[in-house]
Amino acid sequence: MRSDGRQKDELRNIKLEVGILRNAKGSAYIEWGMNKILVGVYGPEEAPPAIENLERAIIKVEYRMATFCSLEEHGKYVPNRRAVEISKVLREALSNLILVDRYPGGLIEVQILVLQAEGGTRVASFVAAVAALIDAGIALRDIGYGISAGKVNNEIVLDLSKEEDNLGQGDIPICITRKGDILLLQLDGKISYEELQSAIEMVRSKREFFENLIRDAFTRRYSKELSNDLVRHI
């Protein structure tokens, strides 16, 4: 039994909404347990000559934590070490999901703002970023999702909360595509090879849940007549 009474492979409540920012090309808002994250996608636009690549698009990811998002980060707004690291790993994960060679010389910006943090924000940001990219009409190889697995009380569990993350024996955020290709895998703590294998298997088994989550979000958006928000650039 875990600290909040969940089963080993039980996720927290997840709610996803897409298309909520008018001025972004695509946007998404996710509530994952107590995590609240807003993602906007801008572009593709022409990349500045200093960073442009004429064969593929450049992806820029900016992960920011609001000053009020959690206790430790209180009062700091400049990107800290943690934010810089997460921006980098998410950029690399998303670069492998987006068909970057379709937009040569382009720049795609993904802006992530964490309003409230309670463990597992990087994987929650990843799910929201994928939904926002689909909403923006950017070509993706496949849909992707992420869950942070971890080791608590000598057992591998899914979706660590903040206490489990801080007091547990290890934490393994994993982002994969629906087909099962790994896009991001980080590991902190001591974990055997077999435990890692079973963690990846557990994440892969949640495939259908995330597929339905993203599909439902878009079905809700398009099932009724579209609101005025769709008529952009007026």
Binding site: K25, G26, G43, P44, E45, E46, L99, R102, Y103, G105, G106, L107, I134, D135, A136, G137, I138, A139, L140, R141, D142, I143, T177, R178, K179, E211, I214, R215, F218, T219, Y222, S223, E225, L226, S227, N228, L230, V231, R232, H233, I234
Partner: protein, 174 residues
């Protein structure tokens, strides 16, 4: 209604609705022989005009061989050349209203064999030029009525029976 996500089927990389061919939202990528409308944003002295076509890179118009003088801020209509970087057969669009819609809705606004476009022109008594990149020039007639109809099409682009809906809502007032 079923939503088709990227990766659901072979060669599907954007969001689709079941039964409708065009993707719901896409990014415009210039293709050779596309007719586009753009705005002149800069001039390279005696070489080229730079045209913003609301894609992720700008087009240029070569000044050599061009018979008119263009100014920054003018809207022009042209055909994307084989190389995909310059505009040919350029025409200046004067005295009209420019309206922008998402690029993926252009197919619905033009309709099959241009039927919807003719309907809009008839109902609002206007002259329209539609660029494949989502920029529309409305030449004369009832601008606000034409924009009303275009907005309705954009909002309901994913619903069947659009022509009937437009006829029902805008057809009788004339």
């Amino acid at each position: 209604m079923r939503v088709i996500l990227p990766g659901d089927m072979e060669n599907i990389y954007n969001l689709h609705l079941e039964g409708i061919d065009a993707a719901i939202e896409t990014v415009y990528i210039p293709k050779p022989r596309d007719v586009v409308i753009g705005k002149i944003i800069a001039e390279k002295k005696n070489v080229a005009y730079i045209v913003d076509i609301s894609s992720f890179y700008a087009m240029s118009i070569m000044i050599r061989g061009l018979e008119m003088r263009l100014n920054i801020g003018d809207y022009v209509m042209g055909v994307v050349s084989q190389t995909g970087e310059t505009l040919e057969n350029v025409r200046l669009l004067r005295n009209g209203v420019i309206y922008r819609v998402p690029e993926s809705k252009v197919g619905r606004i033009v309709g099959s064999k241009g039927e919807m476009l003719k309907l809009i022109e008839k109902l609002s008594n206007s002259k329209l030029e539609v660029g494949r990149n989502g920029i529309i020039w409305i030449g004369r007639g009832d601008f606000s009525r034409a924009i009303d109809i275009i907005n309705t099409i954009v909002k309901r682009a994913h619903i069947r029976g659009l022509t009937d809906y437009i006829m029902k809502n805008f057809g009788d007032a004339k």
